[in-house]
């Protein structure tokens, strides 16, 4: 694919700004949503693991 053909495609027939704004915002939102979901899951596991470890320590003392 030539550079010209690519830049013509990227310009979306004068509507490039709108098309890429829409797709860009969607991409970022969905990415943040997925990352936030994964991080919340990991954090929950980690917090509970820390609690359990602390309790074990208390018992062994």
């Amino acid at each position: 694919m030539s550079v010209e053909a690519f830049s013509e495609w990227a310009s979306m027939g004068r509507h490039g700004l709108y098309v890429w704004l829409a797709y860009g915002s969607s991409f970022v939102t969905l990415l943040l949503l997925v990352i936030g979901t994964r991080m919340a899951f990991r954090r929950a596991l980690r917090d509970i693991a820390a609690d359990v470890a602390a309790e074990q320590e208390n018992e062994s003392q």
Binding site: H15, Y18, V19, S26, T29, V34
Partner: protein, 251 residues
């Protein structure tokens, strides 16, 4: 038919849900990634430009799936609220907790991409006389209300059931709101713009279909993942969760 009731009862068990849904979560996640990537690239590269709207038409491939899923999420919320009040199934509340932030984000995103689509197509970012825009905005406020109510009530169980009452009331109201807003916009026909019923050829609707299915898979992934997170938080003192976090492979 026995397996239906068995599955129904098992769905009420957090532990069963947590274990059984792990592969589903992965599956939905991968499917969402692949389908959304394929559908978006298809829509952006190979689908032809619309003969009237030009290339801005390509926004439809991301905008429409977002709004469809945002509405479906509220329907699911109402259904979960009904299950919670009728069968007192606590997992229904776990589902509601998982859905609200997702639905809110998707509704806001749908409004934003709708505005970005409206600008080149109709020459305006926002049009009060367009029924779809206005009812999506109202949907966003319904989500805000559920979120605010959940935050305002400290007791978890009361918050759950109050949200269920509200979600059901919202679900009953949505068709009435939609009808009234549509009826209202027809009064202003002079200034309104109407989306012409597009008879889309396959090259145009197939990428849309792929993205709609992909967005539903994403809904499935986020809902299951957040439900499993919520289950861990609520069941943190039970023996099965303690056993689970001790296993080295889940760290």
């Amino acid at each position: 038919m026995g397996w239906i009731t068995t599955t129904w009862h098992r769905l009420g068990s957090p532990r069963w849900f947590y274990g059984m849904m792990a592969p589903w979560q992965t599956g939905f996640g991968i499917a969402a990634l692949v389908l959304l990537a394929v559908g978006s690239v298809w829509g952006l590269v190979w689908a032809p430009a619309d003969y009237q709207q030009g290339d801005s038409f390509r926004i439809i491939y991301i905008h429409v799936p977002t709004v469809i899923v945002a509405q479906s999420a509220y329907m699911t919320l109402g259904a979960a609220g009904l299950v919670l009040l009728v069968w007192r199934m606590k997992m229904a509340d776990v589902a509601m907790v998982a859905i609200v932030p997702f639905g809110m984000a998707m509704t806001a995103l749908g409004l934003f991409t709708g505005a970005v689509w409206g600008r080149p197509t109709w020459g305006t970012w926002w049009e009060w006389t367009d029924a779809r825009l206005v009812s999506t905005l109202i949907l966003l406020f319904l989500y805000f209300g559920l979120h605010a109510l959940r935050q305002a009530i400290p007791a978890a169980e009361s918050a759950a059931r109050a949200c269920a009452v509200l979600a059901i009331a919202g679900l009953v109201n949505i068709p009435i709101i939609k009808y009234s807003v549509e009826w209202w916009t027809t009064l202003h026909q002079g200034s309104t713009f109407s989306m012409r019923r597009i008879n889309m050829p396959a090259v145009m609707y197939l990428p849309l279909l792929v993205n709609v299915i992909g967005m539903y898979c994403l809904f499935g992934y986020v809902m299951i993942a957040r439900m499993r997170t919520e289950i861990l938080r609520r069941e943190r003192d039970t023996s099965w969760v303690v056993e689970l976090v001790r296993r080295p492979d889940v760290r």
